[in-house]
């Protein structure tokens, strides 16, 4: 090591801070709700050798693999220089999916390319053939319709390349909103540029280069140490995505994880998965890679840095033309960041749970459902102004883990609780939307020693003109499973009610046009449990009953906990210890008759 330990700590802190500053810029200055409320974006710093260096607070699904974007920049543009910026959203060239617009800014110091700053943000609209950024039914990229920018120059000498801006303004719905988001994203990358130059000036280029080397080595040592705490072995995780348009049986998915504890290596093999199909669920290379890696990082010490150094110890085997691999052009990857992506994350972490007590996580609930719909239309309150945006109203339930219950603000496995959810009032002010109900669903958790989080129910309608809602599901037929004796969470669901309140079924992926008096109902799934519910601390079960999360019957029948209402306070439930001991013994005896 050539960098003093002290400097190593200080510079890594500094990089972290720069990424956080980028993040804050994008969050606050972003125009569309996807950015400024849901924070569906991420920022990272990449070395001049195209290795991911820093990514604090970035969505896992966005960040890992960002180096592929920088690689496209250095390979396609041999003359890039200071003042340039590139727009990249090409899923066949390293991006996640077309709705994620990445801005890349090469950072120069003393005439030398030292870093690439990258800010990537999910757009409210990306010019698809329908007003949604998720196109489950698109047979190919042509039918999908998004404008694709294979790492195209968008700024020269710190000024916009007007051609590109005009193309986007012509083809992207609500162009002012897009341009505002573009400015925010660019601002984040430019702020990083400013700070990174200051950093180089302060410490000198050579010290910074030495630091990068040493920081990667340090991160690799941390990863070796973390893998050393896992048992060696091969585990296979399997799951199935729900049936979809063009996929009547859903998608069977499989990951083979090989852990070499002594050698400090993990291999993830995704090659044994179905081929690409004519529809929007195909994974991009960046997503397939980062999803299974996220599953790994969810299962080890979270303090291990997430950069190219720790990534050296993970190998991912992908196959070309595979639905969970490298997409074959022109198959559509419109939904590469969510559906199969979510499955891969949660499948991998659940596979780790098979290693033994204390490892891995249960499956988290998935499927965006109607409460994450992309809404569009014209708002009669503001002179019929057009709007299009994704809303984020109700989360899915997070997975139980070895020490903690799932979080009800999980959103999706790929988002891992990082996102914000919409304020009802903000949504109702910005869009002609009326949110009638938003609540957690009692008894929807996957029971366990650490239980999954509850799913949520959201009911909404529109105020004036008809509203178009595009949505996609998963987790209805195949809800989030528990691990190590933990139970499955309640599945997701959704329907429409008409004026009279009659329930009308809706397909699992599609578009609904609603008028006032009609309502859409979204039920997101609960997370899977970790460990047997009979081992859950009885006081926690009583607390869940008091709070209305778990019914008295469910506490008794599933958790084996008998509660009584407190004499001092109505609706406060306490454990009946004697009755609980008996009840738990009875349930165990029924489950394991040989032991009694």
């Amino acid at each position: 090591m050539t960098t003093e330990p002290l400097l190593l700590a200080i510079l890594s802190n500094r990089l972290d801070r720069i990424v956080r500053e980028m993040t804050n810029t994008l969050l606050r200055a972003g125009r569309s709700a996807v950015l400024n409320t849901a924070r569906d974006f991420s920022c990272s710093i990449i070395t001049s050798d195209n290795e991911l260096l820093a990514s604090a607070e970035g969505l896992p699904v966005h960040v890992i693999g960002t180096e592929l974007l920088a690689k496209a920049m250095t390979e396609l543009h041999d003359d890039f220089r200071e003042g340039d910026a590139f727009l990249h959203n090409d899923p066949y060239l390293g991006n996640t999916h077309p709705a994620d617009h990445a801005i890349l800014v090469p950072v120069f110091f003393e005439g030398e390319h030292v870093f690439t700053a990258c800010a990537k943000a999910h757009q409210a609209d990306c010019g698809n053939s329908l007003p949604t950024t998720y196109m489950p039914g698109a047979r190919d990229i042509y039918e999908e319709g998004a404008l694709i920018f294979p790492c195209v120059q968008v700024q020269r000498e710190f000024k916009d390349v007007g051609d590109i801006i005009r193309m986007c303004r012509r083809r992207i719905r609500v162009p002012d909103q897009w341009y505002g988001d573009y400015l925010a994203t660019l601002g984040a990358a430019r702020i990083a540029e400013r700070r990174l130059k200051e950093l180089c000036k302060e410490y000198g280029r050579e010290a910074v280069r030495a630091f990068i080397r040493d920081w990667f080595d340090y991160s690799e040592r941390r990863m070796i140490d973390a893998i050393g705490k896992l048992p060696s072995g091969r585990i296979v995780g399997e799951a199935r995505h729900d049936p979809y348009p063009n996929l009547p049986d859903g998608v069977p998915l499989k990951v083979t994880v090989t852990i070499d504890s002594a050698g400090g290596k993990i291999d993830l093999d995704l090659r044994d998965n179905p081929d690409n199909y004519p529809g929007g669920l195909n994974e991009s290379q960046a997503c397939a890679t980062n999803n299974v890696m996220t599953g790994v990082f969810n299962s080890i010490d979270p303090d291990v840095p997430h950069n190219a150094g720790s990534f050296r110890r993970i190998s991912v085997q992908l196959r070309e033309g595979c639905i969970a691999g490298i997409p074959k052009f022109p198959h559509s990857c419109s939904m590469a960041t969510t559906n199969i992506a979510d499955r891969l994350v949660t499948l991998t972490q659940a596979a780790f749970a098979n290693l033994g007590e204390g490892f891995g996580l249960a499956e988290g609930a998935l499927g965006m459902g109607i409460s994450y719909g992309v809404i569009s239309g014209e708002d009669a309150r503001y002179d019929n102004e057009s709007y299009v945006n994704q809303i984020f109203l109700g989360s899915t339930g997070g997975p139980g883990g070895p020490v903690a219950d799932g979080w009800p603000t999980y959103y999706l496995p790929v988002a891992a609780s990082l996102m914000y959810h919409d304020s009802t009032e903000v949504d109702e002010q910005k869009y002609p939307l009326q949110v009638w109900e938003k609540r957690l669903i009692p008894n929807s958790e996957g029971a366990g020693r650490q239980r999954g989080a509850l799913g949520s129910k959201v009911v909404y309608g529109c105020k004036n003109n008809p509203m178009t809602v595009a949505y996609t599901f998963d987790g209805h037929e195949n809800p989030a499973r528990g691990v190590r004796g933990g139970m499955t969470g309640q599945g997701s669901d959704g329907w429409k009610t008409d004026k009279a309140g009659n329930r009308i079924a809706v397909p699992m992926a599609g578009t609904q046009v609603i008028v006032p008096d009609e309502r859409l109902v979204s039920m997101t799934g609960g997370g899977g449990g970790y460990g047997s519910p009979l081992d859950r601390t009885a006081e926690l079960v009583a607390h869940d009953v008091s709070e209305g999360w778990v019914s008295i019957e469910r506490a008794r029948n599933i958790y084996g906990v008998v509660v009584t209402e407190s004499e001092a306070e109505k609706r406060l439930y306490l454990v009946d210890e004697e009755a609980t001991r008996k009840q738990r013994a009875n349930i165990s005896a029924v489950a394991n008759p040989s032991n009694s």
Partner: protein, 689 residues
Amino acid sequence: MTFRIAVDTGGTFSDVVVTNGETRQLWVNKALTTYDRVFNGISDALTVVSEEIGISLHELLSQTTLFTYGTTFSTNAIITGDTAKTAFLTTAGHPDTLVLREGGKLNPFDFRGRYPDPYVPRRLTFEVPERIDSEGAVLMPLGEAEVVRIAAELRERKVEAAAVCLLWSIINPAHELRVAEILKRELPDIPVTLSHQINPILREYRRASSAVIDASLKPLMQRHLREMERDLKEGGFKGQLLVGTSFGGVLNVEDVALRPIYTVNSAPAMAPVAGRANAPDEESIIVCDMGGTSFDVSIVRGGYMKFTRETWIGEQYTGHMTGLSAVDIKNIGAGGGSIAWIDPGGLLRVGPQSAKSSPGPACYGRGGTKATVTDASVVLGHIDPNYFLGGRIKLDYTAAVRAITDNVAKPLGISVYKAAHAILAIATDNMVNAIRSITVNEGLDPRQSLLIAGGGAGGMTIGRIAELLDADRVLVPRTAGALSASGGLFSDIVTEFSASRRTDTRNFDYDTINADLAKLNAEIDAFFERIGTPRDQQFREFFVEARYPHQVWELDVPLRGSCFNSRDDVEAMIEGFHAAHERVFAVSEPGQSVECIYWKARAIARLPKPTLKRQRTAAIGAEPLSVGDAWFGGDVPEQTARYDGPSLSGGASVKGPCVIQEPTTTIVVFPGWKASVLQNGDYLMTKEG
């Protein structure tokens, strides 16, 4: 003689600052906080001061005209859960607002954290049948019978306070007001907080959170403030009692008792007030207040303190947001007690674990074996083990050396001095990161700013912080050991009124906005009238919180006045917004229209400020107490003088490296710096060369 007293009761110490109006003298003292009866600790500290003055405590109190009381009482009550049993009434269909908060998490890969409980348990949350829409129309009338039933249940379940937050009450408050009427009728003794009154902002979580926090504090704070008033009166006090708020000002006891949430986080909000008073002409000031377990940063720019709407009690995302506009304090859990450790990759880390006050740093000799920041300062010779906190605690040098050798120096294979230096450097680096996060967000350049240090440990680290920030001027006020308390001496009566009203600059609604502003102005008039502020001491500031179309986070923009007379006034506001956006986010969009969301009026009743004279009479000059070894990064010690602060005369200047010992703080002057004693007794450190 007339005196003024300012007090800050913290978790551990109660700090007092006393000034004499005639002689312009100033006294600072500390005593342990007494939780059962807060006044006892204060009177302990004041008794020592009164003895120094040569009068009795009763005489001191009876000659005191103004007593400003800053307290962490409410903040502590929230943290320890000692608040009232509070019910939360909200719109039917939306019972989980407090459970779900706004989302967000710091580390996406960390699944070990427990999801936090809501501020009010779900079993005390009640759904009220009613619905108003974003335009104020009633979609579903209020189910009054259900409210009556809820009231009966609250009575039966012995609820002590209630908060009401209904959707869109900021646009149409009729339902909230009616619920309050019914509760008042059914439960006359239970205090009620309405969300649209305590914090009329968009976003149901923030408004609800303000309401429940406020309601839960009412019984307790009303009791506490009454008790304080009574104790003071019994002690002989006949003057005016004012209470510190999170606006960085003070308010009458009656106003605070009605809105006790204003006292939450009020103590740190007083530090920038003190900072501003200590350097009134500075364009930008960074105030750092460091105690044993926590480091607080705030900034003052052009005489204005920076405000935020995101104050968390506890951790970001998992704590509770007050939702109020308040002085922006960036807090990190770093201090003298932060523990140094080596991670599995061989990297030295400091914190977030702390040795706290028990067992405390190894050098406290109370059984602590882990290496802390204070131990590092002892090993480096920055702290004299015999003169810690004015000699009140004797430190164990050998224990400090052992802790750092065993936990850091040996594993890393470096000398104990290098190890101690590294611990201090990493701890300061964490602090510098906190400073950068608040300054860059405001586009403020630390290099051009004056740093002000406060807190018992502030003087020891501020020099290094200045080095890392590349700042070249540092002020350590002689009141550094009680910075927040001294802020109380210089504070004004400050309160805010606000209105939610959306308008767009493309189609600016002059009449409605001017009517709203006129209403705010009238509220200020009534406020000044009520507290009897002379006309020439009345000041008003008006702000708009605005954003570009489609954005949802607003920026504060000051207005020229309280009325938009012409398009010119609107254009000036738009220009102000573009400039603020450019400063904060590095981009702006000239020509784009601006959406105005909230209108805010701040009323300031200026209070007379004490003028202080030089404290020092003994003009001994710059003679050190001793000269000894201290380390500043290398393995070779530097000859370092140690001065007794109070005996340095005004105008004296000492060269670093040296240490100045004050009764409530220790100041380390690093090599390459010098410290000048100002005429008023403050220390100004400047970089030489």
